[in-house]
Amino acid sequence: MTFDVYLNVVVAGILTGLVYGLMALGLSVIFGVVRIVNFAHGEMMSIAMYLAVVLFSSFGLDPLVMLVPIAAVMFAFGYVLQAGLINPFITRPEHSQFLLVVALAIIIVNALLIVFGPDARTVQTSYAYDSFQLGPVLVDASKAYAGGAAIAFAAALFAFFRYSRVGTAIRACADNYTGALVIGLNVKRLYALTFALGMACVGAAGCMMTLIVDVTPIIGPAYTLLAFVIVITGGLGSMAGALFGGILIGLTEALAGLIFTPSAKSMFAFAILVLVLLFRPQGLLGQRLS
């Protein structure tokens, strides 16, 4: 194999990794603020993927164009879910939260199976086989668009948390829960907003993923696991860590697929997780808990 092949695979891996990172960003934000571990994360992304598939197959709407409305729908879904179902569980022990979210995951997988059946569905865009030649590198157009959209979405989220008043209030809740109550922040509403933002990430990432992989109802659990691997690798609660972890895992999977065999890619992703837990348990960009 020539050097060019490696270069192509590295670029493709990074672009896929950006989408992984955006998905994991949702998990990281929800955990960092609400302190709920969303074990239904990948399943919730599969809802967004089916929304994108249905809109494409019924109306020919491009998933990248539908990204914003689908993220908005997932945002609303997340808000209602947190306000109605998860907020009452905030003060309960972790195992009851776990059961609640896992139950949601099972319901989602089976509801999708009932509605869509077990067969894989794909989105065949007009640019599915296009590519760009950049010097020696051949970049797949779908992946380039998806990666670019992931960067834009993540940047908007970073800016929201950094510069807006509401984003700062959400950071304040994560920083000091008691402090937030003391000054009269409406913590439950900010939690609902945070979960909604996490779901918007998942909604956007799901749209991008339909350009890269086929959709089946049972795709969810694998992506929940992947999101965990990414977030733990990058550092739990660190937004930059989630993106960085996504890129690292995307890159690892792509190279493993090239050098060994595509079916070995998960093995290498988990190997990275094990190495990180051994040598830097707080994650690559995470901070040690005091």
Binding site: T168, A172, G179, L181, I183, G184, L185
Partner: protein, 234 residues
């Protein structure tokens, strides 16, 4: 202004407050004195809407706010400078202050209150871009008070404001509370420095094992033998 009537508060099976009644008149400084575990913080948390009382009424003006969530209580004008300061350590000083002004009641006067706070604590202006967690203890307490003032409160409940501060800093802080009071702010003061808080207070209550056992003006309690032996070591 604030009237607490027969308040019972439980934490699980443990009773923290037993039929507590007290009154804070508009413009007053009222002190609550008591040993650790007497229920002082429980009282403040119940008034602030951070812990639901089991029985009793908390009247602010004519409104019974017992059981209200904290964000609604704060928006009525009841501010709190909590025990342990409870600032946001990774947010900048400026961001901490801005968070205090998110209450709907405070939004219109944000600029005016911000200038007032910086005039009161000039050090907060110097440190505005610094992470709040890097401030000294005294500066963090100023930030906690400043953040509370950004919410335009009519009543501030201070919970152990001088705890952990050097004596000179603590004195300065209590001087600040006196100055705020002169400007029209009503204060409910819980303070481990009993002598100092009784000197400051118009009226004071002694809280023991969740009950009010003694009440009077600050100077009456300063002269009371029980208070002198139990809290002043005289």
């Amino acid at each position: 202004m604030l009237r607490v009537e027969n308040l019972d508060v439980f934490y699980g099976d443990a009773q923290a407050l037993d039929a507590v009644s007290l009154e804070v008149e508009r413009g007053a400084i009222v002190a609550i004195v008591g040993a650790n575990g007497a229920g002082k913080t429980s009282l403040i948390r119940a008034i602030a809407g951070m812990h639901k009382p089991a029985r009793g009424r908390i009247l602010f003006g004519a409104t019974d706010i017992a059981g209200w969530p904290s964000h609604r209580v704060c928006n009525l004008g009841i501010g709190q400078v909590a025990e342990g300061r409870q600032i946001f350590p990774t947010l900048s000083v400026a961001e901490n202050l801005a968070m205090g002004a998110l209450l709907p009641r405070a939004r219109a006067r944000r600029e005016e209150n911000h200038e007032r706070v910086l005039a009161l604590f000039p050090v907060l202006a110097e440190r505005s871009r610094q992470a709040a967690g890097t401030l000294s203890g005294g500066e963090q307490q100023m930030l906690a008070i400043g953040r509370c003032l950004m919410g335009a409160p009519e009543l501030i409940m201070f919970d152990e404001p001088s705890l952990g501060l050097a004596p000179a800093v603590a004195h300065h802080l209590l001087g600040t509370i006196r100055a705020l009071n002169r400007d029209g702010l009503t204060c409910l003061l819980v303070e481990q420095n009993v002598a100092l808080s009784l000197k400051l207070a118009g009226r004071a209550y002694v809280l023991e094992n969740g009950r009010i056992t003694l009440t009077g003006t600050g100077s009456e309690l300063l002269a009371d033998d029980r208070v002198r032996s139990a809290y002043l070591g005289l």
